[in-house]
Symmetry: C2
Subunit: 334 residues, 2 copies
């Protein structure tokens, strides 16, 4: 091992840290070829997605490299999960402003390895460059579904239930805590609650266990990455319909509620801030009982929070049927 | 159209400029879904590749956006061509430090459209972000080959011919000219010669016409993106063999020779500088006549420049069999 803690050659990065992530994928050729090969299983097609994450935009440069590696894969696999797809493999393009240290690469590869095991996916190839700007990680992931069965965004129908998995807003609060640990006291959080919120931000957990249920029951589905209101708007626009959401039914964690008691503005700002990586679905009414039952078995809570409607507007109503005003409509990168 | 010449929403970029590039690919869902679908033809598998290009590293920020769009796709499709694969589709992740102008996006999309038509490939999906640093374009391309037939890098054998397509070193000179137009006079180039070299840098042309011949005749193949010596070194290392190259047989364009007469140092520095996007192949001796004949029909010149050898070294020899010393061994991003 060199005394220089930084990795100054692509080859050292690839063969030292990335090639082990390709073990088990014959089409990766141990990352010693220029391209990889892959084919879907018989009767299946690939579902493809790329979503880049960059320091200062999607994660903090001070986040642990293990968490960055996990998140890079998780935010992409979350899309596959929402579409009912089984993860298969990924390419990954890396950009570093300065040569990464062995310690950083080792942590980053370890986070990727944990995510690979959790999601059942392998690295197949990639590209490593040095360029100015933040560290950027661009995975291109692919999974598989039976041909023609990918659950679409544009196929929601009026009178379908609007359902979400898990709880909303945790990740936005987790980011705040990650930036300023003293907020935990200000928000009267227990150590466990603070940790829970930070983990929700650092380690999004794609809802893969719901995959088969989505294929069976969901009329439309997408993951919530830019905040409920913005992503619901996208589903409504694509489907040519609207939605009416019951604000009081939004699923919230105990930790979120604790913050809301102590600092309502912070909670409100985080609720629709993005990075939830939960799944938004349109479920036909007759499918709801079975969908909920299967989700329960899978260990994932699903909540119906409203209904898709013919009028093309999104209404957020409180328990008195009054419209709720909210300042945040979601995250736009521009 | 807004009076603001910049594009401040992802939606405006996607639906205004990128969605037309997805027309003709049903699995792209008009870029209105979160994921795309694709499956290889019967009997085929996908060949996958991602290679990012960034301003200041792989292109000049002042290059025309048409040329940048073309190049982003061409450098990736060049890998598919070298592997014997037929291009099918691509995802593309875009990063902008500031909102792009309508004019820039329009030119960029036009260059992509030209490349799509030339290579027979469609946009299937992607991701657009704003972040500091240079404009970065990260395509992830896929093509198809008959199952198990991708032409590998690691399969060259001693006594195979070392062959290259086209001519070497043009692109390195083209980059110099693009940075400093006055060099054309210093190098005594005609306007046509100067333009030729600049186009070789701006508009690499993947050698797709050679695809079927590679599948039939090549024992190993890869594209030359980081310079002949570096990429040949990679093929030799992967194959566990060496090579002996006849320096005087390297194929050079008339424009390159003109520069060499006027400025030998500039020519020498460019010869192995990278960005050639020609194809390096290992051709078994008995296959050479047929390979050359087919290439001629395809309109692509192939030149045998040496031989793979048992000794694991790369020797560069002149016509008197003396070793040639060269300062450039290729491009490493670190």
């Amino acid at each position: 091992m060199s005394a220089d803690p930084s990795l100054h050659s692509e080859e050292a990065i690839i063969q030292g840290f990335l090639a082990p992530l390709a073990a088990g994928a014959p089409g990766a050729f141990e990352l010693k070829d220029d391209c990889a090969t892959a084919a879907p299983s018989a009767g299946c097609e690939f579902v493809l997605k790329t979503d880049a994450i960059a320091a200062g935009v999607h994660f903090l440069a001070t986040d642990r490299p293990e968490d960055i590696g996990w998140k890079a894969l998780a935010v992409n696999v979350s899309d596959l999960a929402a579409k009912g797809a089984t993860p298969v493999g990924y390419l990954m393009s890396l950009a570093f402003p300065t040569a990464p240290t062995r310690e950083w690469m080792s942590g980053f590869a370890s986070g990727l390895a944990q995510a690979q095991r959790a999601f059942g996916i392998h690295l197949l190839g990639g590209d490593t460059d040095r360029r100015p700007g933040p560290i950027s990680i661009t995975p291109a992931v692919f999974g598989e579904v039976p041909v023609g069965r990918m659950v679409r965004r544009a196929t929601a129908q009026a009178s379908d239930f609007v359902c979400v998995t898990g709880t909303l807003g945790d990740s936005g609060l987790g980011l705040r805590l990650q930036q300023d640990r003293t907020l935990a006291d200000k928000w009267n959080l227990s150590a466990a609650q603070a940790k829970y919120l930070r983990i929700r931000y650092l380690r999004p957990s794609p809802r893969l266990a719901l995959r088969d249920s989505l294929l069976r029951h969901a009329r439309a589905s997408m993951d919530i990455s830019d905040g409920l209101m913005k992503d619901l708007g996208r589903m409504c626009r694509a489907s040519g319909i609207g939605a009416r959401i019951d604000y009081t039914s939004l699923p919230l964690s105990d930790a979120f509620k604790a913050v809301r008691n102590a600092d309502p503005a912070a909670a409100e700002a985080s609720l629709f801030a993005g990075d939830d990586y939960e799944i938004l679905t349109a479920i036909p009414p007759e499918r709801m009982p079975q969908y909920k039952a299967e989700a329960l078995v899978a260990g994932i809570e699903v909540t119906d929070i409203g209904m898709f409607t013919v009028p093309i507007t999104i209404q957020l109503r409180d328990s008195n049927d009054n419209e709720v005003q909210t300042s945040k409509s979601g995250w736009d990168h521009f």
